[in-house]
Amino acid sequence: MNTLRILKKLCSRFYWKDLFLFVTLALMVIFTNIITQPVQTFLNARRQIRDVIPLDYESTLHFDPSYSLLFSSMGFTEERSYHPEVHEAIRNCDGVRAVLEMYSGGASCQEGGGTFNFQMYLYSQSFASYIPPWPEAGRNAEGTEGRLPVMVSPAAADMLPVGTAFDLEMVLTSYEDVKELSVPCVAAGILSPERALPRAGVDNKSLGAIGLAPEYWQDAPLVAAVYDPAFFGEIPWDYPAIIVPEKDADRDALRARLGEALGTWGEVRDLAQIERNVLASTLSESLPEQLKFLLLALIAIFGYGAYLFLAIRQRERQFAVFYIAGMTKKRMFTLNMLFNVVLYLLAAAVGWVLTPWVAKSFVHVESYTGAGLLGTLCTGGLFLVTLLMSLTASFIQNRNAAAITLYHKGD
């Protein structure tokens, strides 16, 4: 209890040096938060996506069509745009348990006296079996039997509030012939804007090959539904797709078999590899900007450490007096630790509040938020290491200096 009282005494008196320590710490927190932000954003997205699609990310594979296939499927060549042999090759491959497909494309409906356009996400039944049920699904509202229940995004909910019955118009392009569909639907619920959206897509830069983190779809008007042959008839699934292997299948062997079977049709990668690529490209893209902040953070933390060292050396007299009055060295060390930890907690709070503002004003990235777990761990770790180093160093120095200046003063 008395340690606290002495601590309070140390804290209650205002010194410029404490302000300096505080400012350097706050700067360190801000800069480190900014440095860790790209990785933090990636980690957040990854966690959100993994929360939504409970796959075994170690063993799951992803098939991406090659560009020539993709272009042909868009009707740019004479070739057939749909390639059933690709799916057959995947499905017939030994060790494949399920293929998760989805279709995404533009769709529209006549609502509010005009045409309302939105994005349509249609999941195959196999894909749907891996998505946990929509948490908000109140699937069949009354008087809407015979209509396909769809989930709408918050941005689409203005036009299609829950319970609205409408006819969804869409054009499936991956058919041999372009196929126009009109599907009677009912808005059954609103997609939670906090959750990732499952996906199988072509995307090398974000995690969109596996799913979309909230910030990527939050503002988009879109509707999502699970494929039902009663409404769509038999449709050939588009690529890309996620491939789930048998429980005990050897992933690398399966990958080799798939690669052989699919040849030039496209590329088979594992999800971990996709994630690594995304992280690498995130890092290399933000590197030049981040290096500046790394430098600033190092300057701030070095300034803090060096100044702390000097500040304690300057207070050698105070420590010598405490020592004479019977305070152990251990307790003085602890006291200084506590004092600096208190200072750090205050600085961290200020730093967290200021980080988004600094990021917006100097890095011009709107999506930068306060500290995530990563930033907190990094700044906390950096702080603790620096604190312990300079405290230990200054105390070792102090012990001799205090003895000489105080006890052995005079003749």
Binding site: V321, F322, G326, M327, K330, Y407, G410, D411
Partner: protein
């Protein structure tokens, strides 16, 4: 109370500049003794006092305070001794200049874990005892040498220590202040406190019943009355 046996202290051991500040000092102090140690500058007086206070460890020899082997004691034990049993007055007083006299006096109590209110009461009564009650709220920086000396004495007394160690307590005082400080020490001694003062002031030394001299680190008893 104190047994020093063949205690030596060398500084800068193993270096060209090695100093033998104390050489095989032997000292017996009984409860209630009032001792002065005199010697010229650099003779080892402060060194002796710092060893007695547990601030410095001897290079060789043994030091018992009551039944504690101080040479082998931990930092915690020695700090406990200084906090409760040994009051120390250092050559430059060892006060915190930015703090008030009362705060300085209460420091050992705060460190020892006494409640704030109780500590302040005790601090005030000790300041009264040394005759400077009216200076309690003054910052030490604003006090004269003689007043600071009394604050230092008050701090040494605040825990009712059984031993008082004073390094050149009269060094910064004129003869009138010196004599009144010695009066105070005599009164404390009369009430049972053991006191050891280190000084090069002969007049002050003559007022103690027991006196030692120290020259070039050699400690010798001069007088016992």
């Amino acid at each position: 109370m104190i047994t020093l046996k063949d205690v030596s202290k060398n500084y800068n051991v193993g270096k060209q500049t090695e100093v033998r500040a104390l050489r095989d000092a032997n000292l017996e102090v009984a409860d209630g003794d009032f001792i002065s140690v005199t010697g010229p500058s650099g003779s080892g007086k402060s060194t002796l006092l710092h060893i007695l206070a547990g601030l410095d460890a001897p290079t060789s020899g043994t030091y018992f305070f009551k039944d504690i082997d101080v040479t082998k004691a931990s930092d915690k034990v020695k700090c406990g001794l200084r906090n409760r049993q040994i009051g120390i007055i250092l050559q430059d007083f060892g006060l915190l200049g930015d703090d008030t006299a009362l705060e300085n006096v209460c420091l050992p109590l705060t460190i020892g874990g006494m409640r704030r209110k109780q500590a302040l009461e005790r601090g005030k009564s000790v300041l009264e005892q040394v005759g400077i009650a009216e200076l309690a709220e003054k910052r030490v920086n604003q006090l004269s040498g003689g007043q600071r000396q009394r604050v230092a004495v008050a701090r040494a007394l605040v825990q009712n220590a059984s031993l008082l160690l004073a390094d050149e307590p009269t060094g910064a005082l004129d003869s009138r202040n010196t004599s009144s400080l010695m009066d105070l020490f005599e009164a404390l001694n009369a009430s049972g406190m053991t006191i050891i003062i280190v000084t090069h002031n002969i007049a002050a030394a003559q007022r103690t019943p027991i006196s030692y001299s120290i020259i070039d680190g050699v400690l010798r008893q001069e007088r016992r009355t």
